[in-house]
Symmetry: C2
Subunit: 189 residues, 2 copies
DNA sequence: GGCTGATAGTTAGCGGCCTAACCAATTCTT
DNA sequence: AAGAATTGGTTAGGCCGCTAACTATCAGCC
């Protein structure tokens, strides 16, 4: 399931050569793009491996984290019903509701979440963490956080700040592209 | 299919707060980690959307690119049989052979690649691009390269170099972790 | 020549991602 | 109050990852 379908990134000379054939190919942009995908993949796969050793998928783990976070913070803030709805979960996890149905199905089957009908709006369901899920998170989260620290350990504090700054520039531009794709892409060409 | 299952990244204060509860959580590492996943996702999704408009998936596109590259370069270098084997493709694309079988199945069904038996070793297949695939790539690659340029346009040349340098540090460390996970993780703790 | 083991490719089955289509319940409109 | 539009959740079917098990072919060794 990697994002980047290449084992060995092309050398810069190859990109230069390819840019002769395709004038649209900007070698330094291409290089940065490929390295970004590669790095994202690499750290993703590292954490996924860790999650798999705890017998959970990245998707299901994400749902548990969302529930843990929103339970802790919003319950105190005066929410009437506990947990979250599948629609909220899907929205926050950036997947479709259909996908969330499947994730919740499997989490429920494994006894990590519970589905209960909302009392006020009978269309809605409330998804809540079970005690078992809390135990599970308590046990595996330290290792997960440790791994994130280890993965980022080669960078100093100031390097991390620089990295975040550069990545933010890309993300902000990309998300503005997503809203008006045709015009922006055309104007740059 | 995002790598990062969170719509809104947590603010730094939240990470600080969480680090009180979990001493293993290094807020700046966590922040860098999340931003890296987010940025990788964002550019990946942007290109995927572009590929989908050309009615091809990222996985299949990767296979076509591998074939296009290895045809051009290795045919001249004195390879006896044209194309690549499924095993070579799977290895280079970082997926299993079973996955590659499926990808080639669909590409063959769509008339973009051909499967022929190797004459020397009857266990092997040779996968080749069809003329239709060459046409297809000619038509859609300029837009793909253009999009990569656009996505990286917010960064200057020197910023791109810095980004690549930082990402390389992470990747090199991560891949060394992958070979000896237990010891390295332990020693850093 | 005929075992044994390694290698290439496929198949079967599962998880998780998607879209499209579908009901049930709510809300808006008139 | 009754029909229309919206919203929440699920289902069905497809693609694409994976592992495990299988067949066919090749290579080595007695």
């Amino acid at each position: 399931m990697p994002h980047l379908f290449i084992k060995d990134l092309p050398r810069y000379e190859c990109l230069l050569k390819a840019s002769k054939q395709f004038p649209e190919l900007d070698p330094s942009a291409c290089e940065a793009f490929l390295h970004l995908l590669r790095a994202g993949d690499e750290v993703f796969l590292a954490t996924e491996q860790n999650l798999n050793e705890n017998s959970i998928s990245h998707g299901r783990f994400g749902v548990l984290m969302l529930l843990a976070q929103n339970c802790d913070e919003d319950c105190g803030a005066g929410r009437e019903s506990p947990g979250m709805t599948p629609a909220e979960l899907a929205d926050n996890a950036r997947v479709t509701r259909a996908t969330m149905t499947g994730l919740v199905d499997n989490l429920e089957r494994d006894g990590l979440v519970s589905r209960t009908a909302d009392t006020h709006d009978r269309r809605m369901m409330r998804i809540c963490l079970t005690p078992r899920a809390h135990e599970f998170l308590e046990k595996m989260l330290p290792g997960h956080f440790q791994l994130m620290s280890t993965l980022m350990s080669p960078l100093s504090e100031s390097e991390r700040k620089t990295l975040v700054k550069l990545l933010n520039k890309i993300v902000q531009h990309a998300s503005s592209l997503a809203k008006a794709p045709a015009e922006t892409a055309g104007s740059v060409a």
